[in-house]
């Protein structure tokens, strides 16, 4: 036995412990890298999708035939252009050249999505309802949505009051609605939600 070469139990145990610690460290690092890559991919997909939606909104707003409108489901107008829709948020209405209206809104179902539909006339349904978050590499949902109109009065930090509305800033109009602004927040459930937005004024001075 004395002539045989080999390792004692203690040596094997020490080597095994060190080996296991190193292997655990490496595997943990490897798994963390994989998770990190997945998160970064999801974040990139989210940013791409949000930017694409913002660009589409800007393009449509630029081509609007007339002033854009905003409809509030809580206080709908007498003759709505888009409502009723499956949302509790503001709906952006973009009038088209052929008399139809394109409606952008956040579907407040679960999970909330950014939707677009076109209503040929107020008597017809708003179809087809396209989900603008579909086709993304990672599942996304809209955690926030806001649509507002840009008026010269609001742009000058004034407020409109009275009927007809008069701006608190002299010389600024409350009646003219040259553009609209949309802000939305997307989330992939893992990363920090990202906010996107677009503001477009059709009437240029």
């Amino acid at each position: 036995m004395k002539a045989q070469r080999g390792s004692s139990v203690l040596e094997v145990l020490v080597a095994g412990t060190i080996g296991a610690t190193i292997a655990l460290g490496f595997s943990g690092f490897f798994l963390a890298s994989l998770r990190f890559n997945r998160d970064v991919d999801a974040q990139a997909a989210l940013q791409r999708q949000g930017t694409a939606i913002a660009e589409e909104l800007g393009r449509r707003l630029r081509l609007a035939d007339g002033s854009p409108k905003v409809e509030d489901p809580a206080n709908p107008p007498e003759t709505p252009a888009c409502l009723p829709l499956g949302t509790l948020d503001m709906v952006l209405v973009i009038p088209n050249e052929d008399g139809s209206a394109t409606c952008y809104y956040r579907n407040t179902a679960t999970p909330p999505q950014v939707m677009r539909c076109t209503r040929p006339s107020p008597l017809e349904d708003c179809v087809p309802a396209a989900n603008l978050l579909s086709g993304s590499l990672a599942p996304l949902w809209a955690t926030g949505w806001g649509a507002s109109l840009v008026t010269p009065c609001g742009a000058a930090d004034g407020t409109c009051s009275g009927d007809p509305a008069v701006c608190s800033i002299a010389g600024q109009s409350c009646a003219a609605v040259p553009g609209a602004s949309v802000v939305f927040t997307l989330s992939d459930g893992t990363n920090r939600p990202e906010t996107f937005g677009v503001t477009m004024v059709a009437t240029r001075h």
Binding site: A32, Q47, A156, F196, M200, T203, H205
Partner: protein, 145 residues
């Protein structure tokens, strides 16, 4: 019966034999393993730091994108008012967007055609307070036709 002195002599002889046996063996010493581990840990820490920095840059990019939106938004609002009537604004927080400050500066441009009408150069700057995110400036030039 073995005396104490004899036992010590026997143990010393055994230890010497073991040392001699280990000295002749091929293998990796504990010190070598530990040194390698330390080097590997330092390398992994460097990689982890690199990944972390990448993540913070992605986050900062998000901040810059929002800053660009806010700058464009203000410029569009100024267009709604009329660029001829736009006024300068000191740096102040943007309502509804915590962590962002916005300012508007208006300066006189160069009278390129010599008509005497100096164009207005309107700059809207938005700065994100997120680390590593640079300021975003959108510029418009207004000239009479």
């Amino acid at each position: 019966m073995v005396s104490v002195g004899n036992r010590l002599t026997k143990n010393s002889t055994k230890a010497g034999t073991t040392r001699a046996r280990l000295g002749g063996e091929r293998g990796v010493a504990l010190l070598e393993v530990l040194t390698t581990s330390v080097i590997l840990v330092i390398a992994m820490l460097g990689l982890a730091l690199m990944l972390s920095m990448g993540s913070s840059f992605v986050r900062a990019e998000g901040g810059e994108r929002v800053a660009l939106f806010l700058a464009q938004q203000r410029m569009e609002e100024l267009r709604a008012i009329g660029l001829a009537r736009a006024t300068a604004e000191l740096e102040r927080p943007v309502p509804g967007f915590p962590g962002f400050v916005r300012s508007t500066t208006i300066t006189g441009g160069t009278d390129l055609d010599g008509s005497g009408d100096i164009p207005r150069v309107i700059r809207v700057s938005v700065r994100s307070l997120v680390r590593q995110a640079g300021p975003i400036t959108v510029t418009a030039v207004y000239a009479k036709h």
